[in-house]
Symmetry: C2
Subunit: 488 residues, 2 copies
């Protein structure tokens, strides 16, 4: 034993008040000394008996710690020659000495793309005006918790084994039934693929139908999350231009598509509903080009005058439409349950592929949601929410007119749980969002939904989740934000 | 009205006993007649008054149904000229007439790869001998359900908004603490990325660190799910050959890697534990090539003699190791919760990228699991399971020796919740698995884990989830399966 290591061993101590067994404490200490370089590679350890005396523990404690470290290769021992730190740990110690992580970690081009366009995150402790958030206060949590607790104690095999990665039969059936009646979707349970949210669905579809370089028509402006998923899959985007009047399907400049992404029930972010002739034209285009259509029906349930327009999928007799739905806008986002309705010809492909991408959903949440739908809670919640959101939208528009008129126009819309606010003077919406955040309101600039064209600036306002008090506060804060920019 | 359509309208009827409003019933019927082609494009509809009389309903009912169909573009009307089916629906009807889906739907090369190597699915109503399944009967469901129900009623903002897509702070902290103590992983909560299971983690890492054509060293034999994720990302696989003696790290023929996939705590499927000198050598290789290592610690918690060997990640001072863990093997698989520990330099990249791939997990399950860990349930469950599995493994090996000796050798193993059964005579393991299934036992052939080399044949036996009765029955069924093949 050298002097240096004697000094080091003097610093060793165990603590009898801890729950961790003494031999385990000693093991952890010695291991951290070795990995941290305090005990150099090749240096000797004290005899078990003398270390035991120093620590005031039984010799077996030291023996157990040494044995574990020997078994794991941190220590070596020879007959009659004591115990020493494994010389091969030299390199680990050297590495430790040098700089830690590589300066610019090498990630893939694809990884760079995926990380470059993240979904907007929420800021804590602010009023949430982000689009796409339903009202959570009105959600029937007590009933939901009861169903959850009951299912969490069921021990039947269907809850523990995956027979079909595409989803639990009870939920696939409940979704198919619901979609047939409420959304005019023409499907059987076998066509349903339950996934961990609509974003997972977009990522999955993009990967299964496009290869790197394939052309995807993407709405312009269009939903950021869909565009990110398409770019992440390596697709080349062609802008399918959208206006308040409709979709630019006659645009001669578009290259033949492999995939077409649309939001016919409520164009994101403009709020337009696709007309029947546009729907039929789009289906014809898809068939002509042997292309797929993603119908993102993220918000289809919410229409305030008359009943919701049926999904385009119901018009598709050629098996071209892949429908994406989510419970994030009807129940709550953090539930992470969405689904696809895929043409029958693709059902098996998706079932198999999702087992590899890991985007299939927890069975407990699936069966609980199936119960929630079957027992009628889902339909009655939706009905209540439609009435609530109609009232809230009216009030929100009224307050915006009264207080934000000089800066922004907010028109009522027949569908959707967010509204587009258009600036009436030249303002940068990122700056407005930053100013709003400083006033305690978290809001989304609409320009993030533009990719090819010079963006329109404005705000995409999620009015649905706010009660009267929050609505009043949010709009006052927006007014203060606009004023602060005027003053600057 | 033509004769033909008169006949069609005669078939219309509404049912007052249904909950669906009458105008809604009529709307659905007419829409389905139009889409199904029974009402041809351009054909006239009866006057509202005469149809109302025929149906025995108020005229307003018919008016409401017609108005909805007009609004949605299924019908058209002219002043004084009645109402007719929109002529543009001609095409939809024509499509309907022709064959439905395309014969061979065009999916991407990547989609073909993803769908070509699915995770093995379980067969219902069989004894589950698949590897990787923990015992679910011993899981403390009552306590788990209580925690779930409590959290399901919490309405705090942290449960509804995603502030960080990489996971809820409480769970990231609980996992980091657990890993430091139990697995020797050197990490802070910011390095944890909670994902929807280990498979999602593999898919995510493969995509973020490799581009199409990049070389990945993959264990041979090696875990099917990891190989599928790597192939799905477009990586070129180089076989890192594994034997009972260890890892073939000195293989001169391997091209420089971008990524190296290993299972050091318990090689899948061989069960070998990686020696210290191999761990250090691997870290050195990764640094030399500016490559990443995936350490898949799917089973690291289960070691039966002595405490589990610490993870390789703790030896990595150069920030090269991406650690993957799962609660699927310690709690239950259908929970769909796994996690990554990424080097600090990659933490932000992963947080952003996972928001696009949709592989982040439901917050309710995250906070419930955080409680479960914090309150000590996780540690005590693991402790109980380690003892239970040690006993079960011993018994399983004993029964195999007694009853399956002529066909298969099953050696005890110090780690893991599955055992490799090696055939002692030339048998095709796919045939054995099929014969076992006929006897009511669902078992996995080990050959599916080979990719480059001529596979060894045998069975990967998940003994951990079976009680005494099921174990006896499973082994008797395997014996019967072997006998049936001998007789054939």
């Amino acid at each position: 034993m050298t002097n240096r290591s004697t000094l080091i061993f003097d610093t060793l101590a165990v603590d009898r008040s801890l729950e961790l067994p003494l031999h385990r404490q000693l093991y952890e200490l010695l291991r951290s000394y070795i990995l941290g370089g305090r005990l150099a590679a090749g240096s000797s350890l004290p005899a078990t008996r003398s270390l035991a005396t120093h620590l005031g523990v039984g010799r077996n404690t030291v023996v157990a710690a040494y044995e574990q470290l020997l078994a794991e290769g941190y220590l070596e021992a020879g007959p009659g020659s004591g115990t020493w730190v494994a010389p091969m740990l030299q390199r680990a110690a050297e590495q430790r000495g040098r700089a830690a992580a590589p300066a610019a970690p090498r990630i893939s081009r694809r990884g760079t793309v995926l990380a470059s366009r993240p979904q907007p995150a929420r800021q804590p402790s602010t009023i949430n005006l982000h689009p796409g958030f339903p009202d959570t206060a009105s959600f029937p949590f007590a009933g939901w918790a009861r169903l959850l607790a009951r299912n969490a104690q069921r021990r039947t095999a269907d809850l523990f084994d995956y027979y079909r990665f595409a989803g639990h039969p009870a939920l696939r059936e409940a979704i198919a039934d619901y979609l047939r009646v409420a959304r005019g979707v023409d499907c059987s349970p076998e066509q349903i693929v339950v996934v961990t949210g609509a974003q997972a669905g977009l990522d999955l579809v993009a990967r299964i139908v496009t290869d790197e370089g394939d052309v995807a028509w993407m709405e312009e402006p269009g939903y950021l999350g869909a565009r990110s998923a398409l770019l992440g899959s390596g697709a080349r985007l062609a802008p399918l231009r959208c206006h308040r009047q409709g979709w630019g399907l006659a645009d001669a400049g578009l290259p033949p598509p492999r995939l077409i992404y649309v939001t016919p029930s409520c164009q994101w972010p403009l709020g337009t509903i696709m007309r029947m002739e546009e729907r039929l034209q789009l289906l014809e285009i898809a068939e002509r080009h042997d292309a797929w259509i993603i119908e993102d029906d993220y918000d289809g349930e919410y229409r305030f005058r008359g009943r919701p327009a049926p999904a385009m999928q119901g018009l598709d007799h050629a098996g071209r439409v892949i429908y994406i739905g989510t419970f994030g806008k009807t129940l709550f986002q953090s539930l992470r349950l969405g689904f696809l309705v895929v043409p029958t010809a693709l059902a098996d492909t998706f079932n198999r592929a999702v087992s590899v991408t890991g985007q299939f959903a927890p069975l407990l949440l699936q069966v609980t949601l199936a119960d929630f739908i079957r027992q009628g809670h889902f339909a009655s919640h939706l009905k209540r929410m439609r009435r609530l959101y109609a009232r809230r939208q009216e009030r929100f528009v009224e307050l915006c007119r009264q207080q934000l008129g000089p800066w922004m126009t907010v028109d009522a819309n027949d569908s959707g749980i967010q509204l587009l606010g258009r600036f009436t003077r030249p303002l940068d919406d990122q700056q407005v969002a930053a100013a709003a955040l400083a006033q305690g309101v978290d809001v989304q600039p609409v320009s993030i939904n533009y990719h090819h064209d010079v963006p329109e600036h404005g705000l995409l306002l999620g009015y649905a989740g706010l009660d009267e008090r929050q609505t009043v506060a949010a709009i006052a804060a927006l007014q203060a934000a606009f004023r602060s920019l005027d003053a600057a």
